[in-house]
Every structure is written in C-alpha cells, then in structure tokens.
Subunit: 738 residues, 2 copies
C-alpha cells in the first residue's frame, strides 16, 4: 500500500462523512425526526413542529456552532458528571495528540523519511513503510529524536492526566455536595439476611438494626421477587395491550397490511384481547390469593437518619459470618437494577468467576472474524480463497478499496455484537445498579477491543499463532516493535473507517432513524419515542482504543497522528451535540469512569514505552533503551501517586463532606424533607398498571411491581408499604436502553 | 546417589538429633541454663535453683511428655493466638502428610518401583531414581494410581484446611471478645495531620475530631519525634551506664580480663563514666531549654468512647484529600513500633515500592550461594574447581557426605542472613506495629525461601539459566515434571539436614546458650536474661517450605514422605516445648498469620497439580491430564470460597461483636475503667530513665522518651501529658527481639 492508496481511503471516508453530516443537518430540522435527534429535549418539553419552509432542506453547520459554544457547566447540568468525564477524556486526547502530532510530524517523520531509502520516487508513489521507523538505519544517531519525542509525549501526558484527575476529583466532590437530598445517601442495601424459621426477613432486619444501630436506624423496605405466576400474568397483560393497540389502529386506518394478509388475524387478535382483558380483571383476585407466593428476598433497603451513619454502616463488617448481613451503599433510585437484587448473595462470587471465564472464552472465539479480516489485508491469500474474484481484484481501484477499507468494515460489523454480549455478562455478574453494570461492561468491552483490534491484528500479521507469542515474555517488546509498523496501513485505515465512520453513524443515529421511519410511514404509528441513555460502554472503549493506537503508533508511524487528530476533533463536536440533544441522563455513576480511563491511558503509555524499548533494541541503540527504562519507572510511579492521591475519593464517600451536609441540613430543618422523600424513593413500582403499558418511554424497565404481602399495617411510618393495586410487571422493554 | 547413601545421610542426622536431644534434656536441668531454656517461666516467676543431684545429668524424655500433654487452651493462654495458629499449621501438615504417606508409600511407591527397570540389584544398592516417577513407562496404565493419589491428597487437604480455617476464625473471634478492655479497641492512629501555620498539630486534631466526631471523641495523644540532640544525649547516657556496670563488676571480681589487658582501660572508663554522669546531670536542663526542638509528628493516637465508634472512624475516608487525616485502628500498646510513626505518611507508598524492588534484587543476588550449593551436588564439577580435594573426594564415605549433606548445610548457613535482611526491609516499609512488621517479613522470607530453595534448585539442576525457563510459560509444567524428580536426592537431604537439624538447633537455642556461658563463665556476669518473642518470620516459612516440598514431591518422589513425617512429628513436640518454656508473647497479631499459611498451602497444592499435569503430559496419558484440570479449578474455587467465607474476619473488626462488648461494658459500668486505662496505655515512655538503662529484658525497645513540649497544662484530662522527667531514650537493644 502506498500513500496514494491511503489517500484514496481517506478520500472515501471524507466524502462519506461530509455527506452524512450534511444529511444530518437536514434531517434534524425535519419535525418528524425530532424524537430521534432531540430525544432529550422532547422528553423535557414537548416541542411543537415548525411550519414548513425551505430552510429546512439546506445543510447548515449551526449544530457545530452550538456544540462549540456550550460550556462545561451546562453540559454538567444536562448530561451529568459522567458526560463531562467523557468529554474531558476527548479533550485530553485532543490535547495530547496535538502535542504528539506537532512533535512527531515535524521532527520524527522527516527523520524516518530520510532514513534508509535514499532515492525517493516522489511522495504520492511512496510506500507507507518509508514513513515508519522501519526506514531508519540500525545504530543511527537520529534515533535520539525518537527517544526525545517519547520523553516529551510521556511528560505532557502525565501532566495533562494529573490536572484532569484533579479537576474531575473536584467535580466529583461537588457532585456529592450538590446532590443534597439524594435518598441514596441515606440508604443501605442489605443483602444475605440470614433466614430464620421463627421470624420473617422484615422482622429480622428490624431486630438487627434496632439492636445494633438503634441511634441511626430509621426504617427499611424489603425487596420482593416476582413469582412465576405474576410474571406470566403480567406478560400476558402486556401482550394483550400491545395487540389491542395494533388492532385498534388497524381498524381505524385500513392499509396494505390490513387488507392484504392480516385481515383474518385481526379478528382472532380481538378475541385474544377480550379474553386477556377478562383474565386481567380477575388477576387482582388471583394476586391477592397468591400473595403468599410472592417471595420476599433476603435483601432490603435500610434507611438511616444521617448520611454519615449510612456510610459508616456500609463500611463495617456487620456479622461474624461474612456471608450474612452484607451492607453496601444503595444506588440512586433510578439506578437500581431490581432483578439482580433477588440473586442470593452467596452466588455472587461464583457468578463473577463464571463471567470472567465466559469473557475470556468469548475473546478467544472472536479470533475467527479478526483473523479473517487480517487475511483480507493480505490480498494474495484472498485470491487463493476466492479464485472467482481474481479478475476483479486485479483492478487497481478495487484492490485499494479492499486492502484499505473493507477489513475495517468487517471488523466494525463484527464488533457490533460485542457490547450487548458484554452487557449480558455484566448483568449475569449480579451488579445491583445499572451504572455499575455499565461500568463493568465498559471495562470488558475496553480490554476486549484492545486485545482483539490491537494485539491480535498485530500478531496475526507477523506470527501465525497469537498465543505462542505470549509464551515467550522477553521477546514481546522486539516482536511488537517489528509488528506494529508493519501493520501501519491497517491502523491508519482503521482510524479512517472505523473511527470517522462510527462518529458519523453516532451522529446519524441510524437505528433509531430507521425505526422512526418504519413506525411512522409503514406502521403509521406515533414514531420512535424511546429515550436513550448514553452508551458509555461502547463509546468510552472506542475513544480509548484510538488513544491506545495513537500512543503506540505515534513514534513508529507518525503519519497516523493527523488522522487521529481529525477523529478527536469530530468526536469533540459530535459527542457534545449528542449529549446536549439526544441522550438522557437517567442514572449516573458520578465520574466512576475516570479511574478506568486514567488506567487505560497509563497502560497505553507503558505500551508505547515497551515498544520503543523493543525498537531501540532492534535498532541497536542500547543507550536510548537505557533512557527508556527510567521513563517506564517514572510512569509507574506517577500512576501510583495518582492512585494514592485521587482514587480513594472515587471508591469511598468522604466523611467530612457528609457530616457537613448532615449538620447543615439538621440546622436548616431540611432533614424531615429528606425523610419524607425516602418513603417513596425506592419503590419497586412507581407507575400504575395502565401507565406502564402505554408509556414506552418510561424511565424504569426492570421494576417489577408487586404488592407487599407482609405489611398489612396502615401506611405512614413504614415505607415498605406498597400500594397493592400496582401489580403489573413491565419487563423486557430495554432494547437499546442499556 | 543410591538408597545406601541416603540412609547414611539419614543415619548421621538421626545420630546428631539423638545426641542433641539428650544433651538438651540434660542442659535444661542445669540451674545455670534456666534463663535460656525457661525464659518465659523465669520472666513470670523467679525460679530458685535446685539443689545438686545426680538426676540432673541423666538424659530424660520428660519434656516430650509435658509437650504432649499440654492442651490447646493452655497453649492459648501461654503463647497467645499466634502460637496456636503456628501449632495448628504443624498439626495440619502432620495430618495431611500422614494421609499422603500412607497413600504414596503403599500405592504409588510400588508402582514406581516396578515400572521400567525390571532387574533390581537389591534394595540398598538401588538408585534413588528407581523410586521416582521417572521409572514409570510412557503411556503406562499404572499412572492412574498417581492421578488417584492426587485426587485423594487434594481432597483431604481441602477438607482439613476448611476445618482449620473455621476453627481459627472461631478462635480469632473469641480472642477479640476475650480481650475485653484492650485499649487498642478504643484507639485510632491518625496520620498525615495537615500542618497549619496558625495552630499546633494537637489543636488541629482536637478541632477536627470535636467537629466531626463530637459524640464519640474522647481525647488524644500526640506522637513525638526525638531530635538528634536528645538521641545523642540518651545514647551517651546509656553507654556510660553500661560501661559503669562493666567497670563496677570488674573491680568487684578481678579476673583474667581485668588483670590482663583491661586494667588500664578500666580507669579511663571510670573517668568516662564520671564525665558522662555530670553531663547527664545537666541534660535535663538542656532538655528543657531545647524543648521546642523536639518535633511533634503529624501523627496522634485518638481515643474514642466506644469500640464501635473507633472502628467506624478508622474505616471511612476522613478528608476529601485522601493523603490527609488517614485513620487506622491502633495496634496494642506493646505492639506499637514507635519510630515508624514518625515517618511522614506521604512517603509510605514510595517506601513500599522501594522495598519491593530491593526484595526482588536481593532474591536475584542470592542466586550466587544457591548456584554454588547446586554445584556441590554435582561432584565432578567440584573436583574440577578444587583439584586438591580429588584424593579425598574419591573416598566413598566422603563423597556420600559431600553430596548428601554439605549442600544443605551451606544453604542453611546462607539462609541465616535472610530473615534479618527481610526484617530490615519490613522496618523500612514503615509498618507501625511490630506484629505487622513481623508478618510482612514472614511473607517476604516465605516467598524468598520457596523461590530460592525450590525453583532455583530445581532449575539450576536441569537448565542453565533460571530466568530463561520462565520466559516460556507453557513449557513450565513439563520442565518442572522433569526437574523435580531429578532433584529428589537434594530435597531428601534438605529435609534430613535442614529440617531435622534446624529443629535440633531450635531446641538447643545455641546462640543464647553460648551467650549465657560467655556471660556467666568468662564475663562473670548474671547470665543471659533476654526474653525472646517467637520468631514467626523464620519458623513459619520453614515449616511451610517443607510442606511445599512435600506436596510437590509426594507423587513424584514418595520416598521423601516418611522423612517429612518425622520432621513434622519432631516439630510438633519441639515447638510446643519452646512456646511453653522459652518464648514470651509480648505482642501478637491475633491469628493474622493464618490467611498467609492457607494461601501458601493452596499454592503448594496448585503447584503439585501443575507438576502432575506436566508429568502426565510427558508420560503421554492425556486422559489423566484431562482429569487433573478439574482438580486445579476445584482448588481455585475452594480457595475463593474460603476467602469469601473467612478472610473478612481477619481483615476487619466485626461490628456485631464490638457493639455487644460496648453494650455489656456500659451496662456493667466498666467503661470508666477502660477510659482510665487509656490515659496511660499509649505512653511513648513507660519507664523511668534508670529502669530503662538497667532492665535488659524490658518489653519496650523503640520507646524514645520525650517530654511533651506543648502541653504545659496540669495532668488529668489530657492523656497527651507526659511526665517531663522521662527524657532518656532507650534504643537499639533489639538484637534478637524482633
């Protein structure tokens, strides 16, 4: 592949991006797409559709301007701390790669270019290898520039990282102080309540906490597990509701479907609907009679009088049997993942191990598409596999497209499978909050992506078996130093195709857009009205992967940096736009993603240094190798310093702050208000049955509604009292709301 | 080496052991050795010397009987929980290796013996290899017996481990409940108190805790750092005291030393003594004038009103800057390692990393003596190195002694360096309690020993460079499976010499015995009167190392098991005897050693299985290999289960228990008593200057006595008030008291 092929690839991608961006700027002005592109705004204020005018069909850049002008405070107010953390990650990448690009393009690139090859055929015809470190002679003195660049990049990255971490720590503290009456601060989740034949779980909890935490215990609320009968019942109810909706609409507006093939079906559907209605009418009776069957779980929310008491109780080991009375701070009410609260605590460690093994197995199975992709970059092997294509592949343009563009596309498509699978694994792991589940999925996707995109690609290109590489530890730097520049063209096209195109797809929201059109113009319904929460578990790994590629390639293949820089600039605008307009911040982790981001950047830096070590070793400049080792040690020490200095704030609640908040609230008398909120905050069923069926955009999905069989007392003091009329389950409406 | 050579080695060792044991049984009856062999009893009740009688010179086994008859409760009362944990470890080893010995000697050994070699020359002339797995044919069906033995040993080990862990957890809980008024339960160590120019550290502490923990805060006590002037002064004072003692005794009892060469010296010593006396007289004046120079450290002991409040405060993050106000539960007063309290908290993480690196470096440097030892077992290379010895080495007996005995002796001697070095590393690490320091040293010594005795020996015997082995991960099982049986003779002689002899040395207490004789008969002083605390950091690694060797060799070299069994039987008696008579339990960790012991046993089991995997691979029995993998997984799961089930009790205080204790004490009115004790418990200077100089057997060594420059208030409420007359440092009297 030469520079011309690369530019072809870049040209295709730039064209695609420009078209898509223009299309977006038009589509977003159409009133029918308002639910797709302004999901967040719509969910807050119902926008009226604008009158028809020509301006609606002229592409414009107003969204870019708006995204640019938004300040961090507004972003914080709109998207929560997590979105700010995300944008800070993009800004950090932007900054560090600007520095790296300046240094590498103006210092390292000329050194590479004027290395071994002396007679250059003219820049467009130049092979890409000429721009990589492979072109530098062994023992060349000019390798010092690479070492210098390494130092500058590492130092700037550490300085920037330090200030980002500091800034985000401050934001997190402000976030905690700001969410002043958040019920989660007063609440614990108690799991593994020991079962006793004499008393109910609820009585056990009351007894335990009045005995040991009498001064701070306020009240509690049990968690209920929905029995199979309820589940079936509610599913049937939901089903009939949907079917009735469809059939009602179809009778109102006869159309192709109705006239053609569904006419007969509608009648039977109607019968079904009536049947299920009558069943539904009786369901409350059955519910009451089967009340005893609804299982109380060995888990409860316990409310405390002060924030400090809650934190403190969550931190200590309650019982001499560590598998009983396990306490944890409760997630925010919106953040609770109810069905995982039902999992017996004793299973969790097994589940963790099982998911770990499953993740590793999945990683290895995934080698198949990756190897296939790698095969495509080697055109000759493709010709062997598909002899019919030989004629086509002989054409220059086609071969450029195939080697330059298709592999990444295959990889991208294959990668669409990964986030849902990882999310499933994280669900099975048993996290009780949706933000933790997402964080765990993010972690899995991240390392999965780095492994499968970077390492496997690097090593299938150069060595046959990946695992055999890792069996010989000390050769790894050398192997990497050889393999990474050799795979330069793959990484560049990956940035061009996967990077830029994924941003364009993100902006276009292709899947919701299609859903919207199908619902609106084919099903003739109200249109797409799901609000989405930001998919951190797919987007953070993607941005970090490009950071990883950037760091590891910066010195070896400096030509990649301009493309990366474009990616980060686009990412900056697009993600800001999406946070402002599309995604809704239902729940958030409070900046918990940052330590993971920080660690990944550190790993990228270390990887860069290890590869440089390999390069200097191969190029026989032992002194430059010697200078790289202190850098490695410095990076590790810096990481450890940050871990000491900032990490605890992300893992623990700060006593000082909570006590201050407690004291302030007690003085101002707002404590009573907080207690009032607690009573209704953690409700397994906050919506009435009919609402739950009709409102597709509801913010709660896993909330299974069950009456409390135990508490037959009058409502008031006991928050575990749930209205027995709420008895319909709303389940499985998740699709992309993960 | 054949069986006869092994039996020679065993014979030598048995003879040495019998002689030493008999000698011990005589020596212990001599009144002059009472301080050596009954240090613990003497320190409690001053025993009178028995009248002279013949019985004193007849060897007897009464000590064995006494050690056998002691119950665990008595041991607990005498030696504390740590000693019980130690003995439980020995009992566990005894049990599991009894099972292993029965299975391996009666099932595996005959299979090995009747393997490849068909014409046996008669058992004494048999090479040791005939008894190892190397004698089994490839693909032999009899390898199933090895697999079966593996299953039985693993299963029994896990069952025994489970019950031991359960038992020790119960003991630990009883230990906490039992130490009812222990001041450490009410006390926190606060470090990294932020410095402010307006107020002193003491005021900062008072302000912080009255603001945030007003309801539970009782009082506090600052930690002081001894300035250089004080240190010099007190050292001078101590020196002069010692010199005066010596000179006084010498004038009283003129002897060889006095008449011969020290006569002139004594006079000058007297002058020195008088000089320093006058200096000492002035020292209090200087002390007062220099009072301001004695540095208050950024650390304090903070006392709380209840145990629960103290635990809770230690668990939460106090400040939004995690490097400020770091709280931890205080160690027992006897357990405090004062000089490490002075270390600025911010240094600790650097120190931890530095010691880690130093430990690794030390491990690598230590390869030199180990390689030398390994060279000795290969007799021919020794002949090359020392041609003069050739004649001697030709003799059969000598060669048997050298290959069978000397290598281990060299190794043992070299290993005498390790524990003090590791203890030094642990001191530098900055642990604030002596038990934690010992535990950390124990951990270091353990992995150092396993690495240097097992891995390095195994691989120098078979491969040239150790590190190159570990660069190829997947070959390790196979390499081990080849190398371990090849080193069978080394391990057997190591058990015989290092194992048995070290026990005999432990029993004889050679170093204190020599000191005693030198002091008593040459210096003509009172005799050895240092009380020792049990050297867990040398003894636990030793016993665990033999366990490790036992597990890894059990299937490959079953002949080692009878020797090991003898070792553990002897260990059982000897350590019980020593705990009962010699060592004093000044401070203890409360069973904290057990999780480490448990982990090491698990690692040993895993190692055994990995080696078996290699063996089955080499011997081409893939099904047996297949059966080993579930065993590996089962062992890991078992370990994880134990970690979940028991470990938290060792890491945390149990709220339930502490609150119960608080409530009971409050009801019985004993709380006031506890508060009274707190005032004097954590005193940096519990002894008056003269005491500190004369009492060699004092329990406090690092206690540097400093007056409190800040608190000029009358004594009473403030426990930070220290009597200003205590101003002499007592330092460096540690020798073996680590």
């Amino acid at each position: 592949m030469n520079l011309a092929a690369l530019l072809t690839s870049a040209g295709i991608n730039i064209a695609v991006c420009v078209i898509l961006f223009s299309l977006y700027s038009v589509l977003r002005k159409q009133p029918c797409n308002v639910n797709v592109y302004f999901g967040r705004t719509v969910s807050i204020t119902k926008r009226r559709s604008d009158p028809f005018c020509l301006e609606r069909f002229v592409p414009s850049a107003s969204w870019l301007v708006k995204a640019w002008r938004t300040r961090e405070d507004d972003l914080l107010a709109v998207g929560g701390l997590d979105s700010v953390v995300f944008i800070r990650m993009v800004i950090f990448s932007l900054r560090i790669f600007s520095i790296a690009a300046v240094i590498c393009v103006f210092i390292v690139l000329p050194v590479n270019y004027h290395g071994q090859t002396t007679n250059h055929p003219g820049i467009p015809e130049e092979s890409l290898e000429v721009f990589t470190i492979l072109n530098v002679q062994e023992g060349s003195k000019w390798l010092w520039t690479h070492c210098l660049a390494l130092y500058i990049i590492t130092a700037s990255a550490c300085i920037l990282l330090y200030f980002e971490y500091k800034h985000i720590t401050r934001l997190r503290l402000a976030y905690i102080t700001g969410s002043s009456l958040s019920p989660s601060h007063f609440t614990l989740v108690v799991r593994a309540i020991p079962w006793s034949p004499e008393e109910s779980y609820s009585d056990s909890v009351r007894k335990f906490f009045t005995k040991y935490h009498a001064s701070s215990y306020l009240s509690h609320q049990m968690v209920y597990r929905v029995g199979k009968v309820q589940k079936l019942m509610s599913n049937a109810g939901r089903m009939c509701k949907i079917l009735r909706d469809v059939s009602v609409e179809q009778t109102h507006t006869p159309d192709l479907f109705h006239c053609g093939m569904c006419g007969g079906a509608t009648d039977s559907l109607k019968i079904l609907a009536t049947d299920s209605e009558s069943v539904k009418g009786k369901s409350s009776l059955i519910d009451n009679s089967l009340g005893g069957r609804k299982k109380v779980c060995a888990a409860a929310f316990v409310f405390f009088k002060t924030r400090y008491a809650a934190v403190v109780t969550s931190k200590v080991l309650q019982s001499s049997n560590p598998m009983h009375w396990v306490t944890d701070m409760a997630p925010e009410p919106n953040d609770v993942y109810w069905s995982n609260l039902w999992i017996p605590y004793g299973q969790l460690w097994i589940r963790k191990i099982a998911t770990l093994l499953a993740t590793i197995a999945f990683m290895l199975v995934f080698l198949i598409p990756v190897t296939f992709v790698q095969g495509m970059t080697a055109l000759k092997s493709l010709e062997k596999k598909f002899p019919a294509l030989r004629g086509l592949l002989k054409k220059k343009f086609m071969s450029q497209v195939i080697t330059g563009y298709l592999p990444s596309v295959v990889l991208i498509l294959a990668f669409y499978v990964v986030p849902p699978v990882m999310m499933l694994f994280s669900t099975v792991e048993g996290w009780i909050s949706r933000s933790q589940r997402k964080k765990s999925a993010c972690f899995k996707v991240l390392y999965f992506t780095i492994w499968n995109v970077f390492f496997v690609n690097v090593f299938t290109g150069s060595v046959i078996s990946q695992l055999s590489v890792f069996s010989s530890v000390k050769d790894i730097p050398g192997q990497l130093a050889n393999a990474v520049p050799a795979q330069a063209k793959f990484f560049m096209t990956y940035v061009l195709s996967s990077g830029w195109a994924s941003l364009a797809c993100e902006l276009m929201q292709i899947y919701p857009l299609l859903c919207n059109y199908i619902r609106r113009f084919i099903l003739l319904k109200e249109g797409y009205n799901d609000t989405l929460s930001f998919p951190y578990h797919t987007e953070i790994p993607r941005v970090l992967l490009f950071g990883f590629i950037g760091f590891t390639c910066s010195i070896l293949v400096p030509l990649i940096l301009p493309f990366l820089l474009v990616y980060f600039v686009l990412a900056y605008f697009i993600y800001r736009n999406q946070i402002l307009n599309v995604y809704i911040a239902e729940y958030e982790s409070g900046g918990q993603f940052w330590p993971m981001i920080h660690n990944t950047v550190i790993i990228s830096l270390l990887m860069m240094q290890i590869i440089a070590l390999g390069v200097f070793g191969l190029r026989r400049t032992p002194i430059a190798s010697g200078f790289t080792i202190p850098l490695l040690i410095f990076t590790l020490l810096f990481n450890e310093y940050c871990r000491q200095q900032f990490k605890p704030v992300f893992k623990n609640h700060v006593a000082e702050i909570l006590i201050d908040m407690d004291q302030k609230d007690e003085q101002s008398g707002r404590m009573e208000e907080a207690y009032q909120q607690l009573h209704s905050a953690y409700c397994q069923a906050p919506i009435t049955p009919d609402d739950s069926c009709s409102s597709g955009g509801s913010t709660r999905h896993e909330g299974d509604i069950v009456p409390d069989p135990e508490n037959a007392k009058p409502p008031g003091e006991e928050p575990s009292q749930i209205n027995p009329s709420w008895n319909v389950t709303f389940d499985g409406a998740e699709s992309r709301k993960i």
